[in-house]
């Protein structure tokens, strides 16, 4: 993490995997609570709507959280491993990590399924990285340094001219 573009708001590599597991899990549980709460509420008969929402949240929100958590944690794990092997940080790390995650999650579906899933994940991560880069470039363009205004004094030659 000594490259100048390293993100200092995150912890160093092996321990950050736990952080990502927890963050992704929490995101999944909270998002899943909202999603399945609304879904359970709408799909229940009148009079049982609140209890239906609660039952749906209880049954499904932790599962959504688990899916998110495993995805995020595995991604972080592969990202750290690839960083340690390649000793550099660029967009290819994320794409390769996405490829590995897709393959790992589909490991019980057979070789073809694994490859398909891995490629889908890698493309998804590639799009994500590309959008991030475009955004970064746009921000750099919008905040580019402005040349100093030339003082408007006729006759006086500027220094160094």
């Amino acid at each position: 993490m000594s490259t100048p573009e390293a993100d200092h708001s995150r912890d160093p590599c092996p321990i950050v995997i736990l952080n990502d597991f927890g963050g992704a899990y929490a995101m999944g549980v909270i998002g899943g609570s909202i999603w399945h709460g609304i879904k359970g509420f709408r799909n229940s008969p009148y009079g049982e709507r609140r209890i239906g929402a609660l039952a749906a949240i209880k049954a499904r929100a932790p599962v959504v959280g688990g899916n998110f958590g495993v995805w995020g944690g595995l991604f972080s794990f592969y990202d750290c491993s690839i960083k340690a092997i390649r000793k550099r940080e660029d967009a290819w790390n994320a794409i390769m990590a996405g490829f590995c995650v897709g393959g790992s999650l589909a490991v019980r579906g057979g070789r073809k399924h694994m490859l398909n899933s891995a490629i889908t994940c890698a493309i998804f991560l590639g799009i994500l990285e590309g959008v991030g880069m475009m955004f970064q470039r746009y921000m750099a363009y919008a905040n580019k340094p402005v040349p100093m205004p030339v003082p408007d004094q006729g006759g006086a030659t500027p220094l160094g001219a």
Binding site: H8, D11, G65, R108
Partner: protein, 224 residues
């Protein structure tokens, strides 16, 4: 090579440089000897001696950029990891509990799967015993692991999530972070977790989570 970094390399090259500078001085005509600047008499530039206050003879120093961003609630900082605030506590707490639950549940599932391995079939005509194929056995074990692991992990993760959210809220409300908050949030998290299973289960879960929170507080004190 870092220009002003270590002084060791400069000292190694210094004698060689002066020796090289000696050669033209001795080879020059004697008439020029008194007027010529004796190059070898110049001290070799050593960055650390030129500017001792700059501390250039030390190694690279790293700036601790995150120092001012650490948690500011009174009583924090005695955890295992430095915390940047409630989001760090939440992520690490939940993640640790989730991963350990996943691992423990996976072990339980492994045990279950190995206990209930598919038996071989006996041919009714010949009476020969045919062992179950390896893939079937592997599938049984994996099914059990993936059934128990996520279940335990999800429950532990939800408990950790509730505990950390309540703990951080109590910290912010009371303005300090101590064992009382931990115990209270453990009890509340346990109560909420079993809130739909009747008062008896709620009481059990509350008691268990309070004990777990107390154990965690004791563990932290033991480490410090």
């Amino acid at each position: 090579m870092w220009l002003f970094g270590g002084s060791t390399k400069k000292e190694e090259t210094a004698p060689a440089a002066s020796a090289a500078a000696d050669v033209p001085a001795t080879a020059a005509p004697a008439a020029y000897d008194d007027t010529q600047l004796n190059i070898s008499a110049f001290p070799v530039f050593d960055a650390s001696k030129l500017h001792p206050l700059a501390g250039l003879d030390k190694d690279l120093e790293y700036l601790d950029l995150d120092e001012e961003k650490l948690n500011t609630v009174e009583g924090t900082g005695n955890g295992i990891l430095p915390s940047r605030g409630w989001t760090d506590d939440l992520c690490y707490g939940t993640g640790t509990l989730y991963v350990s639950g996943l691992g423990l549940g996976g072990l339980v599932g492994l045990n279950e799967g190995l206990k209930h391995l598919p038996q071989g079939s006996v041919d009714p005509v010949t009476g020969a015993v045919k062992a179950a194929p390896f893939k079937l056995k592997l599938n049984t074990v994996l099914n059990q692991v993936t059934k128990h692991g996520p279940h335990v992990g999800n429950s532990a993760g939800v408990l950790g999530l509730l505990y950390n959210i309540i703990d951080s809220s109590l910290d912010a409300y009371r303005g300090r972070h101590d064992d009382l908050n931990s115990l209270a949030s453990g009890a509340l998290a346990g109560a909420i977790f079993k809130s739909t299973s009747g008062p008896k289960a709620m009481a059990y879960s509350t008691g268990l989570m309070t004990v777990a929170a107390a154990a965690w507080c004791g563990f932290k004190r033991m480490l410090n």
